[in-house]
Amino acid sequence: MNDDDFLDVLRATADEFDPVPAGVLRDASAALALRSLDAELAELVESEALVRGDGPLTLAFESERVTVNLEISDGVVRGLVTGAEGEAVVETPHSRRAAPITDGWFTVTDVPSGLVRIRVTASDGTPVVTRWARG
């Protein structure tokens, strides 16, 4: 058997024993709906895992109108926002949790690990969303 044929056998074996899970395909399909075309994007400007492996992760985002500083630890997202008021929405690909912003601070608990982004409304009414970051 030549190499190309052997690799085809291996490919069929991988398709049988390690196929792409259906849930992975569903999530990929659903990802397009996560676009936020309406919102101003806050870019990640700083990211620091204080302790490798565990311990809080700190992230800083900035857009023209707002800044968002996050501390993420054990599913708790604690944020400090400037330039926005009302409520902050903590989004993951599968969930949305809102919390009031009080004196600039908000806290959301039970956030699943994985990607997270924050949606706020700037003081002039402009919707702002941070880039996705790994919480």
């Binding site: 058997m1 190499d3 044929d5 052997f6 690799l7 056998v9 291996l10 490919r11 069929a12 074996t13 991988a14 398709d15 049988e16 024993f17 390690d18 792409v20 899970p21 259906a22 849930g23 992975v24 395909l25 569903r26 999530d27 990929a28 399909s29 659903a30 990802a31 397009l32 709906a33 996560l34 676009r35 895992a49 490798r52 492996g53 690909p93 994985g114 990607l115 880039r131 996705w132 790994r134």
Partner: protein, 202 residues
Amino acid sequence: MCPAGHTNQDGVAGHHVHMDIPALVAAAARGDQSAWDALVRQFSGLLWSIARAYRLSDADAADAVQCTWIKLVEHLDRITEPERLAGWLSTTARHECLQLIRRSGRLPEPAEEIADSPDPAPAVDHELLVGERNARLWRVFEELPDRCRRLLRVLMASPPPAYADVALALDMPVGSIGPNRQRCLGRLKALVRGDSLLEERS
């Protein structure tokens, strides 16, 4: 939310059909879900294979693939060379995998050289590799030295990836893919030959 065709095996058709990737990217950027789903069908196999090549668990591999697609969503309007989308996805997937490995505190794999197989690579009889013997072949594959296992796992993606994209997925020179492929397949053939179960004739 997910079209029924998604879980079908029709992604294999992408192997034979030339897909107009730039047109699909442009349509997806306009919000066309069916164009997006065509990209998902075309490249999910490659992204999953990359994550498995880095030995990510089920959960971490799913995370790495999802992050790669979400990053593409974020960049849909700014993909400057849509004809090279597979390369962009491969590079992004590698970064996601390495980030997850770093986050978990796992040590990087030692970068051993890919040596020639000690025995001359024997011819493998196709009949030995069918049916339930695929399970044994899969187990033998999983025991390959890490660099060979990693390279072959990406090359085993469906549909077959271009060498240029494999090189980006593994951060290897593109010129090294072909020679290493030959050595690693030779190694695997030697291991298969040494497995008496695989040598049984049907």
